[in-house]
């Protein structure tokens, strides 16, 4: 109450100064005054009221119709005042939610963490960056009993919290698979049943699963409707799409997954990615597939981890530092 009275004095003086001199300084201070008032949660109708009172002090002979008109104006401001108060409480709630989701995002990071494997003769690079706080992409490495390397890369249709919940399900399902049965087609088949049973039918997951056999350097893979990967033939300097037929996870319990095999030669690369990489946009323009491969090639001479990081930075800048979709890129390069 006393602060408001103080402010009334203040307002009256500033207004008087402006009326007398019409100078910009008074207007600048008017701006400061209103910001200060907002900090104290003063509603716009109270500003009108202070205005009326200031006018009455300064001009006791103010015409009655002016006074009435200002009462009328005040009445129109009540609804704006309500919106203003709702704004304050919305902002608080929003901050709460924001911090809640940031806690969840950190948990998700811990939960989904996978260790990049150290494997003799194979250079591995992997990066996964969420567009918002929570990641709807997922990748996972696992070595099986025979020393083969299993690589999963997945994308939930949808972003944010629901996608994150869905991904943690995938992660736990995969963790519970026995470590000796790692055929890509079989793994996708089991995951498909888990997703079909547990998740609302409106939610889909695409996944590419590959198994790199370190002994004979073959790459066996299956895909559940996922973005195709690429094989880079370094001798011919040529990219070849690698894909296998299979339904996205969670659509039909009977889905089966084709399994394909690719021989990998020294110096060649296997590239796995999500559509957040291939569907980068620059303004309204979608990036062409060729452009993505061009950029990968540009950094291909570097260690695989540096390659994926440079490619990410390239497309991050291209998109004004605001990803439209989660971005995940994995590269396996045969060294010897």
């Amino acid at each position: 109450m006393s602060t408001l009275k103080l402010d009334l004095e203040n307002y009256k003086e500033l207004m008087q100064q402006y009326i007398e001199t019409q100078d910009e300084q008074a207007l600048y201070q008017a701006e400061q005054f209103s910001k200060h008032s907002m900090q104290q949660n003063i509603s716009p109708e109270e500003i009108i009221n202070v205005h009326v009172q200031s006018l009455q002090h300064l001009y006791p002979d103010m015409p009655e119709h002016i006074r009435s008109s200002l009462d009328f104006l005040l009445e129109t401001m009540i609804s704006y005042g309500l919106a203003y108060q709702e704004y304050q409480s919305l902002r608080e709630r929003q901050l709460e939610l924001k911090s809640e989701i940031s806690v969840a995002a950190n948990m998700q990071k811990t939960l989904l963490a996978t260790e990049k494997p150290e494997i003799e003769g194979l250079d591995v690079g992997a990066i996964s960056i969420p567009a918002k706080q929570m990641n709807g992409d997922y990748y996972h490495f696992v070595k099986d009993d025979s020393g083969a390397l299993g690589v999963a890369i997945a994308d939930v249709v949808g972003k944010g919290v629901p996608a994150a919940l869905c991904m943690s399900m995938i992660k736990y399902s995969m963790d519970s698979f026995p470590e000796n049965r790692m055929d890509p087609g079989v793994i996708l088949g089991s995951l498909n049943r888990v997703v079909e049973r547990n998740v609302d039918s409106s939610m889909f997951i695409t996944m590419f699963y590959g198994l790199y056999n370190i002994n004979n350097h073959t790459f066996r893979f299956s895909s559940a409707g996922h973005e195709p990967g690429y094989y880079y033939d370094s001798k011919q300097d040529y990219f070849e799409e690698i894909d296998a037929s299979g339904l996205v996870l969670g659509v039909s319990p009977e889905a089966t997954y084709e399994q394909c095999t690719k021989e990998v030669h020294v110096g060649d690369m296997i590239i796995m990615l999500t559509d957040g990489v291939t569907e980068c946009r620059q303004g309204d323009r979608f990036i062409e597939e060729d452009e993505v491969l061009e950029i990968i090639k540009q950094y291909a001479h570097l260690p695989a981890q540096e390659t994926v990081e440079h490619v990410y930075k390239h497309f991050e800048r291209l998109q004004d530092f605001q990803l439209r979709d989660d971005f995940t890129l994995i590269i396996l390069k045969r060294k010897v």
């Binding site: 109450m1 109708e45 109270e46 009221n49 009326v52 009462d71 005040l74 009445e75 009540i78 609804s79 005042g81 309500l82 919106a83 108060q85 709702e86 409480s89 919305l90 709630r93």
Partner: protein, 133 residues
């Protein structure tokens, strides 16, 4: 409650009548311009809710006093269908959707105390108090 301090709400015009009576009583109690306008807006919301959702009902006003200060109590009553999802209706942030109505959270903000009782099929009673500071 005194008969004369109630207004029956049957048609849109009655909203104005309720505002008028409420504002007069508020002025007599000693409320200033801003609070009068806030009280009138709260009455509008309550009366419009009755008019739109219950069809008919009434709004009563009472000058009250506790140890420390005077105040105005508004009671809105109807025998309409009642409000099923109270917690949803009282939720913030969506009441002024599109700006057409401040809704009940708005009434709660405009007044100092707010209490609602509603039973499915048996109507709604809302009590709201504004204290003179």
């Amino acid at each position: 409650m005194d008969f004369q301090s109630c207004v029956n709400i049957k048609k849109e015009w009655d909203i104005v009548g309720a505002r008028q009576l409420g504002r007069d009583i508020a002025r007599k109690i000693g409320f200033g311009t801003v609070d009068q306008a806030r009280i009138a807006t709260a009455i509008s919301e309550l009366a419009r809710n009755i008019y739109l959702y219950a069809g008919t009902g009434k709004i009563c006003f009472e000058a009250i006093e506790d140890m420390n200060h005077k105040g105005l109590r508004i009671v809105a009553m109807d025998d309409g269908p009642g409000i099923k999802e109270l917690s949803q209706v009282m939720e913030d942030g969506f009441s002024t959707s599109g700006g057409l109505g401040a809704g009940l959270p708005g009434v709660k903000r405009l007044m100092d105390d707010f209490d609602i009782q509603s039973e499915d099929g048996k109507g709604t009673e809302i009590k709201a108090v504004k204290w003179l500071r």
